[in-house]
């Protein structure tokens, strides 16, 4: 186990890097996912079609393929950028499809009477969705959104393989191959690192769920 204590700074760096990726990708995915969910329930057919294609593409395409396209396809098309952002945006795009579907299920759970009442007092589509439906919808989907976010944190390990580097999983790679440490203790350290992120995240979501949950 001394492998972990000996290389604590390296592990901490990796943890920070992973947190960074997850934070940026998480925020981006939440925003994007909500916008796409709004598209999917919008009254305009082109918006609905955009939303549906978005979800169909990103939900059915393996994350590795999305990331591969970001890291190797975009430069091929003449778009150069940092691998960190390629990876983070790729992860966000992929996750946004799942966020969208979670939120859409929440929208479907809101009784239609709510939207009808909003329309009846003269609110437009944007106001109905933003002020009446979405606030209720999001409160009911905290648990599934939590699943999506935790899955995203775990998926961030794949981002490291596409040139991002320095993340928690890559730290394990460096220790095992370049420094020749035994695989098992190194991986235990990596697992502990992910647990340090995911378990508190799960607990936080639990608290949030109890706070905002609405009985229906």
């Amino acid at each position: 186990m001394h492998v972990i204590t000996d290389n604590l700074p390296l592990y901490l760096n990796g943890l920070l890097r992973t947190l960074q990726i997850c934070l940026y990708a998480g925020v981006l995915a939440m925003v994007l996912g909500t916008v796409i969910a709004a598209f999917r329930v919008a009254p305009l057919p082109p918006l609905r079609a955009t939303g549906t294609s978005w979800v169909t593409v990103f939900r059915n395409c393996p994350l590795t393929v999305v990331l591969f396209f970001m890291a190797f396809g975009l430069p091929e098309l003449g778009l150069n950028g940092s691998y960190f952002w390629f990876g983070t945006i790729g992860l966000a795009l992929y996750t946004s499809a799942f966020v969208c579907e979670a939120i859409r299920s929440g929208i479907n759970a809101v009784p239609p009477g709510q939207a009808e009442a909003a329309r009846a007092i003269g609110l437009g589509f944007g106001q109905t969705l933003g002020l009446v439906v979405l606030p209720q919808a999001v409160r009911t989907v905290v648990p599934p959104l939590g699943n999506v976010i935790i899955a995203m944190i775990k998926n961030s390990a794949i981002v490291g393989a596409f040139g991002v580097g320095g993340d928690l999983f890559a730290v394990g790679d460096t220790l095992t191959s370049a420094r020749g440490e035994a695989v098992l203790p190194v991986l235990i350290g990596v697992v502990l690192g992910y647990l340090v992120i995911t378990i508190p995240a799960g607990l936080l979501l639990g608290v949030l769920e109890r706070k905002v949950a609405i009985a229906r």
Partner: protein, 297 residues
Amino acid sequence: MRARSMRWGVLVASAALVLTACGGGGGNQLAGGTDVPVDTNAEFAPGSTMANLKQAGKIRIGTKFDQPLFGLKGLDGTPQGFDVEIGKIVAAKLGLSPEQIEWVEAPSKTREEKIEQDLVDMVVATYTINDKRKERISFAGPYYEAGQDLMVKSDNAEITGPESLRASGAKVCSVTGSTPAEEIKKFVDPQNLTLFDVYSKCSDALRTGQVQAVTTDNVILMGLVENSGGQFKLVDKQFTSEPYGIGIKKGDVPFCQFIDDTLTKAAGDGTYEKAWQASAGKVSPETPPLPQLDPCS
């Protein structure tokens, strides 16, 4: 009717032309290789690794499948290169023909594991001898001394050596967990170091301008330069010394001594030179001398 069928004919012919043209580009096939006489009369002490291998009639050799000139797996399924030739020389002295060798892919990050878990009998895979690795496995050799270098685009005049990297703010690519990746950290900031699992991805990143330099041992870079069709060049300023050894099970001194003897003999009778000329010699025509062998432990 005739016009239509002719049109089809042209279409098929041009498609075939395109296909063959594509196929010709990436290949760097090293045909032939050394024809080492198999030592069928070899005698070994019973119970030794050599005796066991000879009796089994099979040796599992770990090598890389993606390193031109050292270990590259072509379409015929057998890897080719200098490492592979060295493997064949050792096998021949054990009384095993090339057909009796089972090639196992041994990428940088799982080499020690492959040896420890007895998935291979030896690893010849551009494997730098270092003390940390010696804690888990033993090395025979070294059979070649490489040095870390940089590869850049042919028109790059800014990067002249590792010291110029920081000044030009260049992004550098290497392979996860390799010694060069650790070594280059002295010359570049962590955020400018990009790591992939294989060198081919680094080449791609260099081609598309995502990174400005690729670093690893010189001969590996030579292979990449050779495959780039003139797009890349070597900076040609080696800044480390990388003695390549043959990884074997920890503490197997007799096997190590046997391999060392084989290497010495191969250097003496010209087999070593033939192995070099048939592989890496295509890019670096001068055969290097066999380095001073390390004591077995």
